[in-house]
Symmetry: C2
Subunit: 545 residues, 2 copies
């Protein structure tokens, strides 16, 4: 046996600029690797791969293929354990059905409606004009001379570009984000919170909120065995949390939201959950999602105080996921930031409680998911840890700069007196008013269906109705090795083309079943959608009665 | 003691939409938390935080502050172990000096020059017009009607938008990236590699190359103790690798590049390194950086064949970091992709070797770092693992969509006959020709300085010269608890304002010292920069002689 050198390789040899020393023939003696006979090796730069050669390669592939290095058995078991239902099996199935539709395969519907994800623009929502004008100006600064762009947009674009290396969106920024944008975020927080001070130094721009949440969790997790870090999360939760916890091999500590009381958070339940967890891990982190995803509740000021007090008392690091802060619809509900309440509770709290809160360009009225913009404000971080956090973020260099620019417009929109103000407000209010209408309509429609109960959609952009599952359906689901609500959602998808996410992907009390559906489709379309869900549900109940 | 409820909290109570149940007073008995006396708590929506109140809060902070939850002792030890020299202590110091300059503090220089990072636009390189036109059109589609944008740019923008949900950059894309862009990437790879087939299904768009590399490593790492995954990396390396390995608690297995032979890669050294590693871990991954960062060598075809054969023989998963594929300057050097050579070695290799290769929008001639665009092509992945990889990526939803659009233009630039072709080629060649000139100039200038030796900069965008350190300097560095080359680089920064990264941040053979400097500054500026480094070096040698 001798070492294999391809024809092309032999021809190439080592040129003057070659940067590889002799391969040490003696060390390689005994190595196998003769090329299978009959396979033409194209020469560099000349040969093209004919389709015959491709076919031949594929044919040999089947024979030659040997055991893989990376398999389900050898892979990272924590990654294997990750589940992310929002883009999980149901979304995968939706993709397959779409392909079938494109091939002309007949279905009882003509399109798949992806109500599984809060993706506003995909559902036809138009971008906020001002935001896109500013980002376009930053992208192609020649437009700064164009009379078709308003001055207030140009002013913001110039300011952002001045914060960029070489005045270009193409330069890396500081890992924490562009300074002037962090200043704008701080001003926004001060305005939002009635003047509670915010320090730009505590602001970190992120690649969507997900990136910030995962980074904070990453830095928090430590210990082994019973001293492994426990992370308290609501059930139902947004599955980014369970996924990050799994990736980090931390311990997921569930506390249950109270469905009977409009998905409210009860401090007694936090305490129960914490006390149990202390028996098997070191609970160190408490995650809150407000307004709730998938559950849509908006926390009262009193509840937030209780939670902060609990975290303070129990020495828990607080994570407040507040990406739906602009999405509050129900009368009597109001968004209160954890930061604001923390400060109002006095310095014993505001100087001590370690709190990270998160916001995003993806939700609200702008729905700019694709920009992957976001920020986090982190309070009372130990100065040493601040250095560690910046170091961790610096490995990924910086968040996408056009996402940073988009974030800037969310926190620094046109103000009264500016040229773009009226159009901006019109666009913003149109989106939010429509969402409020759709939230009410969805709740009402679901609650008219026998076997469906839906709590008020106080905020966010989803309904999470509870569905009654007949025992025959549960049995059939089990026979298919599926969670009963997964079985339900798969049937719904197959029969109507509507893609929603089963409650089991978010977590729910045992024996209860739900699904999450976004209310983002345009109002007429949403109405039809809900009617279809209703019809499907009635037939489902009938079939499995 | 009784439970603390702020004035504002008492006033607010629980409204009709309140979503928090009674906090269970009995459970909270015994909790402390009375607000410190004399601190005014502003009421919701009315009070502003006066500066006096702020000062008072700060003052009490010092008294009230108690032990943190998150400290250097309690944090994730793997994150603590991460080092990322490119944005490490030296970049931090540079930032401090910049602040001092802004304050008017006198220094022997007027500006800090950040030659520590490959950040083209920050160094004054202009963006490629066509790329920015397409991204601007995608951002603000009203511009599709503007006569000031060329038709070929509009055509590409329309195609990208058609691939986006709701025809908007603001929609999430598939986690693997927009289909038509992955198709363009596949076509690019086929053209680049002389017709070797590429399947869009094997392409994953990423948030810069870093994100792709970290994701693949994440999925690969498993085992504990002696069966922990070993990851072979070149020394010197780009510190993303050591950082990711540390974060994942994998085992870093060093193989040394041969400085005496122009930083070449010797398969005998790979074998030595692997055999040693087998004694303490399970080496499963081999990382290659070609063209080299920080070392600038370009691998010969022969060397790549040797490496592939070695990986095949030893069952190693190959990671080929090819982000500098457009940055090849030396005569006689040429970029060969691992993918292409793999196919030319025949199906025994091309059907078996598991290979992930990475590219980016950040380097090359475009230097669009801020867009965080990139892709990876992953070959011979087990189908189950493909599912696992997509699942892992889906937790972060999708790469930034404007970065995906930028990547599309890199792989699908104007072609002869198109309106923008001549300007595009002029801009591209101007950047690359300048880089080639600067590569040669830098090598020549360094090699004229006594005590500095610099290998040819065959590719990439850095020089990594070796510096002679007098023993007195080494002693003084040790007295300051610094690596000798860190000491050198800190002095260089303090005396000249030039920020470079010490070799110890990349790894180097014991007893050798280097620094990495980017050649991106404009040619006149680079010349002055190199003269300054030379003067500093001469004085340094003199001082510590």
């Amino acid at each position: 046996m001798h070492r294999f050198v391809s024809a092309a390789g032999r021809a190439a040899g080592r040129g003057p600029g070659s940067c590889c020393r002799g391969a040490g023939e003696e060390a390689l003696r005994g190595a196998v690797g003769r090329p299978p006979r009959g396979v033409r090796l194209p020469r560099e730069g000349t040969a093209r791969w004919s389709s015959a050669a491709k076919a031949s390669a594929v044919k040999i592939s089947e024979k030659a293929s040997r055991e893989k290095i990376l398999t389900l058995e050898s892979m990272n078991p924590q990654v294997k354990a990750v589940e992310y239902a929002v883009r999980g099996p149901i979304a995968h199935k939706a993709g397959e059905i779409e392909k079938e539709l494109r091939k002309g395969i007949k279905k009882p519907f003509t399109e798949v409606i992806k109500a599984n994800i809060g993706d506003a623009h995909a559902m036809g929502q138009r971008p906020i004009t001002f935001l896109r004008q500013v980002v376009a100006l930053c992208t192609y600064p020649n437009l700064l001379d164009s009379p078709s762009f308003p001055e207030d947009a140009k002013k913001r674009a110039r300011r952002i570009l001045q914060g960029c290396g070489g005045n270009s969106l193409g330069a890396y920024t500081a890992s924490q984000g562009i300074n002037c944008i962090r200043e704008d975020v701080a001003s926004y927080i001060e305005r939002r919170d009635g003047g509670v001070p915010a320090d730009p130094d505590n602001i970190y721009l992120t690649t969507g909120a997900s990136d910030g949440i995962a980074s904070i969790l990453k830095i928090l997790v430590s210990g082994g065995g019973k001293s492994r870090t426990g992370v308290m999360i609501p059930i139902p939760q947004y599955p980014l949390y369970s996924a990050a916890i799994s990736e980090l091999d931390a311990i997921q500590v569930n506390y249950y939201l109270d469905e009977e009381n409009c998905w409210s958070l009860d401090v007694n339940e936090l305490r129960r959950s914490l006390n149990e967890a202390k028996g098997y891990c070191n609970p160190k982190v408490l995650c809150i999602i407000n307004p709730g995803n998938p559950t849509g509740q908006v926390q009262s000021r009193k509840c937030i105080e209780d939670v902060i007090h609990f975290a303070w008392e129990e020495k828990l690091f607080l994570l407040a996921d507040e990406v739906y802060q602009d999405n509050v619809y129900s009368e009597g509900c109001q968004f209160h930031s954890f930061k604001k309440i923390l400060y109002e509770m006095g310095p014993e709290y505001s100087n001590n409680v370690e709190l990270a809160s998160f916001h995003s360009t993806s939700k609200g009225y702008m729905g700019e998911c694709g920009y992957r913009g976001g920020y986090m404000e982190v309070l009372n971080l130990h100065p040493d840890i601040k250095g560690q956090l910046v170091k961790l973020l610096s490995v990924r260099l910086c968040p996408p700069v056009s996402g940073q620019a988009a974030m800037d417009i969310v926190v620094n929109p046109p103000v009264p007196g500016e040229e773009s103000y009226s159009q901006f407000i019109k666009e913003k209010e149109s989106v939010l008013n429509n969402l409020a209408k759709k939230a009410k309509m969805t709740e009402d429609m679901f609650n008219k269906v026998p076997g469906i109960h839906c709590n008020p959609l106080q905020g966010a952009m989803y309904a999470f109705p509870r569905i009654f599952m007949p025992s025959k359906a549960i049995e059939e689901a089990k026979a298919h090795k599926m969670a009963p609500d997964m079985f339900y959602c798969m049937k719904l998808l197959e029969e109507t083309g509507i893609c929603v996410v089963p409650g089991s992907g978010f977590g729910q009390r045992e024996g209860t079943y739900h699904f999450r559906i976004t209310i983002l489709p345009q109002i007429d379309k949403l109405k039809i959608l809900l009617e279809k869900v209703k019809d499907f549900h009635m037939k489902f109940l009938e079939k499995y009665a």
